[in-house]
């Protein structure tokens, strides 16, 4: 029994509930948040790989003592190997992704604690709750458990937007919730149809039933379930047609919140995407649909980023566009493609968090997000300007950073699959990303300072710079030694492809 696997989810949720109660006591909130935030990346680092059956109900095949005396109707059929309990699987790919998510959450929580005078228990509660639910989505092998945490994550994301005091945050949050209240019942019905056809909610068992002919794979009900689950996936991760509302959500949150929100989207994209691939990869158009929607997301996200004047909105659109790269990797369906897609997911989560926090220093100094009113910030914040420049280079895929390696792998994978067009589009869009970023960088940092721009005379907290340097180090390590990351991810990619 490996108790660390459930603890990854249980510890943040329990402490989050405590923090909410301790709202007014600033010192206690600070101490508890610091300890729990440290626990987020360390627990998955020290945990061993394994499988957790909640309630201890293993499949009958693994536990012969229970199976004694049961009729042949149960032990002689597939019921013998089905999973009666909610199952969490902790493999090498999950390890890397949870560590990276915990790493981003760690710095988001630390920065949020030190950038404000009075630490807010509610904000820490929401961040921990969201992180815990995304960790559970990554671990869970049970599609209904995934739905429950999908809903909790959506509520936590709305909460993160609600507590930021940005203009029009309530309107955006309400719009997101209205769309969500349509999309999540549809996702639930998709799950219900899968349950109705296969009689199971465990993904491994569903895949077994479909592959071993226990159910008819060409059944139209399964097609319907596939499309409904994909619809919920589009909503949860902000692919088109939800890219506008999702990028609005990012831009209405505080920089720390936005950094965490995009990490949530990236990892829920991966978690649900992998389940769709595992269950429905025998349908040829599932791959084509994923590639198509990813191309649309890339093109729309990156081209809409060009016209933005608000720099938070600009990065938000770039973040949505970058999701497309992951989708292409998953949609190609080959082992190399999926490895590249997962690697790109890890890289993108780090780089976009880096960018949001980097540009967050501008907001901290000036309280201004409109690029037309900004300028000349290089003199004010030379260190963070350099770091932001490096983050932008990393996002565009310039060597020696990590996104270069993953985008190179994606290009290779698409060439190997006989789709050179996708490779060309990806390279072109990388160039556009770089151009968009450089325009923003020039307007904010390099051009002469407008006369009416007020700059607060406050030092940027050291923890922000430390966080940015830490992200930079991770980018460089993954860029110079990509095998460190891909070794973790290859096992999962092989099992899906």
């Amino acid at each position: 029994m490996n108790y660390l696997i459930p603890l990854m989810v249980v510890i943040p949720i329990t402490c989050a509930l405590f923090l909410n109660l301790l709202h007014e006591r600033t010192r206690t909130v600070k101490i508890i948040s610091i300890i729990v935030a440290l626990a987020l990346p360390t627990i998955p680092l020290i945990a061993n790989y394994g499988v957790q059956y909640f309630g201890g109900y293993q499949p009958l095949a693994q536990n012969p003592t229970i199976a004694v005396g049961l009729p042949n109707l149960i032990t002689g059929t597939a019921l013998n190997i089905f999973h009666p309990a909610i199952t969490y699987v902790f493999g090498s790919a999950q390890k890397l992704m949870i560590v990276v998510l915990g790493f981003i959450a760690l710095f988001a929580i630390y920065i949020s604690l030190y950038e404000v005078k009075k630490a807010s228990g509610v904000y820490a509660y929401l961040m921990l709750m969201g992180t815990a639910s995304i960790i559970a989505m990554l671990l869970s092998d049970d599609i209904f458990n995934l739905y429950v945490f999908f809903e909790i994550a959506a509520l936590a994301q709305v909460g993160i937007v609600l507590v930021s005091k940005v203009d029009y945050n309530y309107e955006t949050a309400l719009k997101y919730m209205i769309l969500g209240s349509i999309a999540s019942p549809l996702l639930l019905i998709g799950i219900a149809l899968l349950l109705g056809v296969t009689g199971n909610v465990n993904v491994t068992d569903i895949v077994y039933s479909i592959q071993h002919g226990l159910v008819n794979p060409q059944s139209p009900v399964l097609l319907m379930a596939c499309s409904l689950i994909i619809f919920g996936w589009l909503y949860g991760t902000g692919l088109p047609p939800f890219h506008t509302i999702k990028s609005a959500m990012y831009s209405k949150a505080l920089p720390t919140g936005a950094a965490l929100l995009q990490a949530f989207s990236v990892f829920s994209f991966v978690a649900i995407g992998i389940i769709i691939l595992r269950i429905f990869s025998y349908l040829p158009f599932a791959h084509i649909f994923i590639i198509g929607i990813s191309l649309v997301a890339m093109t729309l996200g990156i081209t809409m980023a060009i016209t933005q004047t608000d720099f938070k909105r600009l990065i938000a659109y770039l973040a949505v566009g970058e999701l497309g790269y992951i989708g292409i990797g998953l949609g190609l369906g080959t082992a190399l493609g999926i490895t590249a897609g997962l690697f790109q997911a890890v890289n993108e989560a780090i780089i976009t968090a880096f960018l949001f926090i980097g540009f967050g220093t501008i907001m901290y100094k000036t309280k201004e997000t409109d690029m037309r009113k900004l300028g000349g910030m290089l003199v004010e914040t030379p260190k963070s300007a350099l770091l932001v420049l490096l983050a932008g280079l990393a996002m565009a895929g310039v060597p020696p950073f990590n996104a270069f390696q993953s985008k190179l792998m994606l290009v290779q994978a698409s060439l190997n699959s006989g789709l050179p067009e996708i490779a060309i589009i990806m390279v072109l869009l990388s160039i556009v990303t770089f151009m968009t970023f450089m325009r923003a960088f020039h307007t904010i940092y390099l051009r002469p300072r407008p006369v009416d721009l007020e700059i607060k005379n406050e030092k940027i907290p050291n923890i922000t710079l430390v966080a940015m340097v830490a992200f930079l180090v991770v980018c460089l390590v993954f860029g110079l030694f990509p095998q460190i990351a891909t070794n973790f991810l290859q096992g999962m990619a092989m099992s899906i492809a």
């Binding site: 209904f144 429950v148 809903e151 509520l155 709305v158 909460g159 609600l162 309530y170 309107e171 949050a173 309400l174 719009k175 919730m177 209205i178 969500g180 209240s181 349509i182 019942p185 549809l186 639930l188 019905i189 799950i191 219900a192 349950l195 109705g196 009689g199 909610v201």
Partner: protein
């Protein structure tokens, strides 16, 4: 009867979802929009319940004195019901958050019209 209970309840679920989606799209008042969203959730729940239902079956609670073979052949499928319990609670909490936002927005705009508040 023309159709059995299961089919009729599936149709009811469909009708509830259609009413809900219609209300969400075409009603302007925010409170009514949220009421319609609650109906969509109810429809999805009823759909799940109707799937677990077994025509002519018995309730899935094993009481003393029942025979094992009779129970295993006639009991309805309890897994969807367990899922619905969670889903009902999630739906209610989402409603509560939305109504909270609406109260705040009413203070700011002095109106509950979606076209005024969400139209930008």
């Amino acid at each position: 009867m023309i159709m059995d209970t299961q089919l009729a309840s599936l149709l009811t679920a469909g009708a509830l979802m259609v009413i809900g989606i219609f209300g969400t799209l075409f009603l302007d008042n925010l409170i009514k929009k949220v009421i319609s969203l609650a109906f969509i959730g109810d429809g999805a729940n009823l759909f799940l319940i109707a799937m677990g239902y077994k025509v002519g079956g018995i309730v899935y609670i094993f009481l003393p004195g029942m025979s094992m073979s009779n129970f295993s052949q006639n009991a309805s499928y309890p897994l969807p019901f367990a899922l619905v319990l969670t889903s009902i609670v999630i739906g209610a909490s989402t409603m509560a958050v939305m109504l909270g936002i609406i109260i705040l927005l009413n203070k700011k705009y002095g109106s509950l019209s979606a076209s005024k508040i969400l139209g930008e």
